[in-house]
Symmetry: C2
Subunit: 420 residues, 2 copies
């Protein structure tokens, strides 16, 4: 259960006895509030006594609230309490969890106010370290269960929807390398390097030297070991530190999946780091990040349980905070939202196949929390609550910008690239 | 003269008598101020008496100030008075005018403060009409002298730097059509349609029906005549009106080169027009506009003499004003700055070849003003003072977005496209 099979569970046997609705005043008010909130979402809600609220038609899931308390909590703070209840096993979902969350997000987007709320939260170095540790130091064995073989934990690029996750992660790395027009001998700084796959890929296939930073001890250890094994130690240096500590100069600045953890209050600082790295009026860079079509915080449950300190910015927030102060011009933006939904579909399916193992490694609450996170993230990209942007930039008056961008994508089908 | 030949005029004969610097106190102060302002720009400045200030090495031009008054005016307000003096014939430039202005802009960018100055100016309908009339109703005969044969007055897309202007304008139209994935039978609204070439191109080659608005009487008359002659009247409707009057619904909203004339104070209104046109949660659009890497007004002389009411926005200003309030997500951004510099090089060369004709049609001041405008615009795109953005957008959760964007550029070499 809690998988994505819209199973027959949705239809009760025709001769079933229909349990009555709750009769207490508080419960009745809560049920009414829940009905108003959910509107005609394609979902049935089953209460602890078996009574079922039939909302929209063609339900994608049945949500069971296992206690009166859960109903009241959910009505009080649905954004947070759905996740809390699911994690604790107080809420069960039968049917298609991704489709359920997608429907909730799509309905929410329609209601959401369009007013702009400036967000300024920062992540000082110590907080940044704690945030990273919380998520990325869960153990490489855990991530190996459901990531691709090279352990890339960011949006892949699928040449076609049928591509394997492995091929799509390689295609993503090549796409970024081509957008950056890397050439042998150039120096690259990578901020937030995960388990090091991209830094090693750049060095091996594009002949560059790379300095890569990451705050995660587990990831850096793994990346260094890989560099040693693969004989790339001389060309790739992995540094366990905050991006703010970067002080090497380079031809290229690249960051894949770190900006979400920076926080808008530190964008100007990130801009200064980029400028210090590239020098005046030269170089180019690429920022790959989860963002939004309009400003707003990350989902509160995700911040609480999965990504403390994370914030998905709008393109405007990134330009104003990071790029404009140093007169960097945007050369190119590509939105890979559908590719992240596809990436998450792969991760989620692999994860589902390893649920028992995860339960043994951690506990049932952790296992359910991560299933909800992966499903919710997939739903976020499907519904457009989240977007994935790749932004290429260079100094506003750069004389070294490409005439056409065709070459970036032409060869990005992955596969045949040589060794440099 | 005033062309782009870095001629021998830059070197005086070796036995020339060197005229002395001016001796009046005011003149001496003004010369000092000019030296400070220009720094080591690669330019020589010749005063009315023949005395020459040698600034940087390898000068690209000699600027002659023909009177004491011109020197004082220039020092008082260089941004405005250089253009005023050039237009009036009080300033002459021998050498490469484009390279001179590019050097000035590059030096200025280095000095410019990076503080964000919010700009909110609006163009109410009557002002918008006057602004458009000022520029676009100068007579089709005038524009025919130096635009391509289809009279496209926006940035072209050069498949290669050697492409002709004619081929590049067709390639631009195809590039936009492919980014919009037009298919036969769809309805397109075009805001700001110039002489109608793009509307007619979409109808003829992509089988769509088009409603196109423009405030310029001369342009609309020309466009309607072309539609009649080419038998496309039933599929292309040209409307002489403000974009705010649009109330048709459509599958696609496109605007090439109008946003610069809208003014940030009216971006929200433009966003509402787009939303009204496309309806809720559907459709897609493209905005093609001259912009900036950081906020700032258009050059004051250009606003005064060439484009009253114009403002080149940053991408952030466009997102926040036009797109975010309606939850449109950016799917793609392409920066065509180098293509606009190339387009302007073609226009400027054609214009130079028709200077005598322009002088007869108007007067020498007008002719010089437009030479400076075309040269200055080319310099702006070369130096990065201006950028050219194409932004593709769709509702944040759109289910009809392409898997890959390769197809947009593949066929954009222009040339072989069939009739639909």
């Amino acid at each position: 259960m809690n998988g994505d099979d819209r199973a027959a569970v949705l239809t009760p046997p025709p001769d079933a006895v229909v349990p009555p609705p709750p009769t207490g005043r508080l419960e009745r008010l809560a049920v009414e509030a829940l009905r108003r909130r959910l509107g005609d979402l394609p979902v049935h809600v089953r209460l602890w006594n078996g009574h079922t609220l039939h909302l929209g038609t063609d339900p994608v899931a049945v949500v069971t609230l296992k206690s009166r308390r859960m109903l009241l909590d959910l009505v009080r703070n649905p954004d947070l309490q759905f996740g809390e209840g699911f994690m604790a096993g107080e809420i069960d979902v039968e049917g298609d969890l991704v489709a359920l969350v997608e429907a909730v997000f799509r309905a929410g987007a329609a209601r959401q106010s369009a007013t702009r709320r400036p967000v300024t939260h920062s992540n000082p170095v110590r907080a940044a370290r704690d945030n990273v540790h919380h998520h990325y130091d869960l153990g490489n064995d855990f991530y190996r269960l459901w990531l691709d073989e090279q352990m890339l934990y960011t949006c892949a690029y699928f040449p076609s929807p049928e591509a394997t996750l492995e091929a799509a992660q390689i295609a993503k790395m090549d796409l970024v390398c081509r957008k950056l027009r890397l050439s042998p001998g150039e120096r690259v700084v990578e901020a937030g390097c995960g388990w090091g796959a991209f830094a090693l890929h750049m060095a091996r296939h594009y002949g560059v030297t790379v300095k890569a930073v990451n705050l995660s001890h587990e990831q850096i250890r793994y990346a260094r070991e890989r560099a040693r094994t693969e004989g790339l130690e001389a060309r790739v240096t992995f540094i366990e530190d905050d991006y703010r500590a970067l002080c090497d100069s380079a031809d290229v600045f690249v960051s894949i999946g770190m900006l979400e953890h920076v926080g808008p209050g530190d964008y100007q600082e990130l801009g200064r780091v980029i400028r210090r790295t590239l020098g005046e009026d030269q170089g180019r860079g690429l920022l790959h990040f989860i963002g939004r079509s309009r400003p707003g915080p990350l989902h509160p449950w995700t911040v609480k349980r999965i990504f403390p300190g994370a914030y998905p910015p709008t393109l405007g927030e990134v330009y104003e905070g990071v790029l404009e102060p140093h007169d960097y011009a945007v050369l190119d933006v590509e939105n890979l939202r559908v590719h992240y939904a596809q990436t998450l579909d792969h991760w989620r399916r692999r994860y589902l196949a390893s649920r028992e193992t995860v339960r043994r490694m951690f506990d049932p609450c952790f296992e359910r929390a991560w299933l909800l996170y992966l499903s919710g993230a997939q739903a976020s990209f499907l519904s457009g609550a989240l977007q994935l942007f790749q932004v290429v930039f260079a100094p506003a008056g750069s004389k070294a910008i490409p005439w056409r961008r065709d070459a970036w994508t032409e060869a990005s089908w992955g596969g045949a690239h040589g060794q440099v």
